[in-house]
Symmetry: D2
Subunit: 276 residues, 4 copies
Amino acid sequence: MCRWLAYSGSPVRLEELLYKPANSLVMQSKHARMGVETTNGDGFGVGWYGSEPYPGLFHSTEPAWHDRNLRELSAQASAGRVFAHIRASTGSAVQQTNCHPFRHGRWLWMHNGLLKDFPAVKRDLAIAVEPSLFPQIEGATDSELFFFLALTFGLEKDPPSAVAAAVGLIEDVGRRHGIEHPIQMTVATTDGDTTWAFRYSSEGRSRSLFHSTDVSTLRTQYPDNPMLHALADDARLVVSEPLGDLVGAWREVPESTCVVVHGGGEDLLPFSPAAA
Amino acid sequence: MCRWLAYSGSPVRLEELLYKPANSLVMQSKHARMGVETTNGDGFGVGWYGSEPYPGLFHSTEPAWHDRNLRELSAQASAGRVFAHIRASTGSAVQQTNCHPFRHGRWLWMHNGLLKDFPAVKRDLAIAVEPSLFPQIEGATDSELFFFLALTFGLEKDPPSAVAAAVGLIEDVGRRHGIEHPIQMTVATTDGDTTWAFRYSSEGRSRSLFHSTDVSTLRTQYPDNPMLHALADDARLVVSEPLGDLVGAWREVPESTCVVVHGGGEDLLPFSPAAA
Amino acid sequence: MCRWLAYSGSPVRLEELLYKPANSLVMQSKHARMGVETTNGDGFGVGWYGSEPYPGLFHSTEPAWHDRNLRELSAQASAGRVFAHIRASTGSAVQQTNCHPFRHGRWLWMHNGLLKDFPAVKRDLAIAVEPSLFPQIEGATDSELFFFLALTFGLEKDPPSAVAAAVGLIEDVGRRHGIEHPIQMTVATTDGDTTWAFRYSSEGRSRSLFHSTDVSTLRTQYPDNPMLHALADDARLVVSEPLGDLVGAWREVPESTCVVVHGGGEDLLPFSPAAA
Amino acid sequence: MCRWLAYSGSPVRLEELLYKPANSLVMQSKHARMGVETTNGDGFGVGWYGSEPYPGLFHSTEPAWHDRNLRELSAQASAGRVFAHIRASTGSAVQQTNCHPFRHGRWLWMHNGLLKDFPAVKRDLAIAVEPSLFPQIEGATDSELFFFLALTFGLEKDPPSAVAAAVGLIEDVGRRHGIEHPIQMTVATTDGDTTWAFRYSSEGRSRSLFHSTDVSTLRTQYPDNPMLHALADDARLVVSEPLGDLVGAWREVPESTCVVVHGGGEDLLPFSPAAA
């Protein structure tokens, strides 16, 4: 469906994250290795926390592989928190308002996966969104509506609980509509400081998700790797698929897990939906 | 806000309608004379009934004045029913799913005007849409939601009553949210056979609307006018503003009126919202 | 690089050619089977001869697989001559003026392949273009410049000779710049009546090219195939790769060959570059 | 035709330059006051020198007034040298490669005006471009070709002389083709340090051009003006038209003049074309 990347650490030029790795996200836009689709050419988005209090967003409907503005921005902008997402539409229109990451205040959100049989559940889920938030929904994707449900359930206060409640509702509504496996997801969200990433699916066979291992250790192992020298010791990546073939650089995130990345370290917590 | 044109009559090349007149719709995209904005450069759309049972749609986010594909299509396609619309966004995103005309089955719909303070009323109105229609809403405009309300109230069976009921609901919901003048509209809708056009606003000062007078009479008056020779006797236009300065060619549609164009003639009926 | 399709025959809806076949051109935009690239997502173009004397052109920078306007146009437009092309850029910008087919008067031209080391030869070739044609070059591709060279050498009078002269010049200029194999090409051109398609490369290993066999024979063989019933007896296709797996439906065009399609039949002529 | 802005000074957020002023460049994209056209909606571009050695470029074919990515970038990026340009096409295609500013190495270039009867002179001028530079021309505008002529004549070494030589050639070629007034121009170019701006036309009635006066003096005059507080003492602007109505803030650049902005000060030099 899609592929994404979440970076936390010392400020780094976007180019180092999006273009330089052997299996970079831009490369994955044409030749993803582990995705349901090899082509993720239905637009993309980047959210980055630079020197301003609010993150910037760049959304484009072009395939990432040939977008010149993405290349320019990536060569100029540095940031300590970066979310990037390439899209393979599951049916909704290719338009900027359907591009991830989505933003609300200081928060970003991006999703790989889908809400199964979305047309059947869309209205029930939309009605569950906090009324004051409802008119802020700009696009037509399941992913954005999922974000607004998480916001409704308190994402800005307690992300794991809010996501658990949103997933619980989605599964409940889905099953009431006869959908066996209502949700498939890897999700990342951040307030620009901590990042939370989730891997879960109703059927227990979720889309792939990996987190990077300690950069300083890797640098000792691979003293000649230029990519590792561009990254600081506190650099942490959570990605849909590894950005390269370096043995030991990536660990798969287990099923039904929430990865919390904060201050150069990460914790893995069990994740399960909350009863609606 | 926007400008539109609805043509009924014998098949004519789109070019004759969209480019050839002195104050053509494409010309109005840059220099509208009677609009709230002189520039209507936030995308456009054309719907046409050619030889197929369903109308075709061409939606673009580019300004009409420089869109080469519109010029090409207009030179090639002929149709007996044509809806065309140029957009000046009142805030929602410039994307194809926000371009008019909107389509449902054989029906087209386009709107100039706005639902006042749309974010305040959007949720209440969205919930009023027939649940089976709700997931078919693709964009984020007030105009498309208005279309789905009209469909909910039976547009396909009795357009004037359905529009009256939709407007009644919009005014009722608006007033409950403290909005003095909830709606401003000129609207056109068609099933590919009959066309209904409405001019109405809560405040009684509606956007401009005109309908063409009899072509054969005009042709006698202006034997040298090439535009009139490209049009058949049964040609009827309803437009946001006259396409030229020909004296006698255009009549203003009165406030609170529904124009019904059918079989080369038109009827003007009084229009008022129905109580919700 | 790219994939293309050239249709000649009784008028057919574009949809039958572009969407319906199992391995349709739109399908090939994401999953080409025989191309150098599996993804041909850097824009596309369609040229069609409808009821007007000049062909229409629809050029888009979006991937064909998600372009809604292409789907709409294809459902509405019928034509007896159709050129369609999906692009995988070899470096030049993704913009409408770089989309094939290119047009000059009644003529269309499209190309799969490349002029090797184009920057090295571009200026010499540009200077060779007839001065009155030079300012009509709108884009930046090798393919469009190749078209203008063919026009310079008399394409409108004798297409095989003009293409042979253009290729001869390209090889001559290329070799003077030390390029071993200056050209790789399958090309199609038409005046809206006859179609000429060429398969050639300096190295003698050209991109794939196929032409369809007789539809009436196929229809006897496959009485249940719906695709064959949508096509008339005079339907002829020349394509970069077969549109389906029907045994006997496609024949490979040999190396160094020009296929001339006219009046429901085709001739295969040997093709070789002319000395510059 | 177009409108542009060149900023030199301490780093400032792009937003302060492009959105905040009363008659900002983004405002001028819809409602220019002094341009030949009030609408400059045929794309735009921004070049900025941030913390990297080479300038970044953002080119878009959308009207500046509704481009969300421009707003995002402007809120995030700060730079000490900024070139911004909004386009009103005089005929060439609306595509990113036709958007100003154009870039070569560290150099940027932008132009308002036109080369009269460009198709007539294009080939002669293109052949005059240094052969090694020729294949780097990406678009189809007179403005980009003018840039490449200036580069050919030594822009990187002595900008006023190079521009004088390029204009001399353009006038010479134009007059040989019977064009009375071959060029109309305001041009700005920079190496990221010094900025050179030119106002000239063959007919002696050039497009408008203004430069800002000393900010510290203005700040004393207008202690309550927030715009002036966002700008440092060394801020210098050269613009197609004043960004506001502050009396004393803007001085018209005289006809046939080159403004050199360097180190917080500017010099005005007479400019005249060099004999070809």
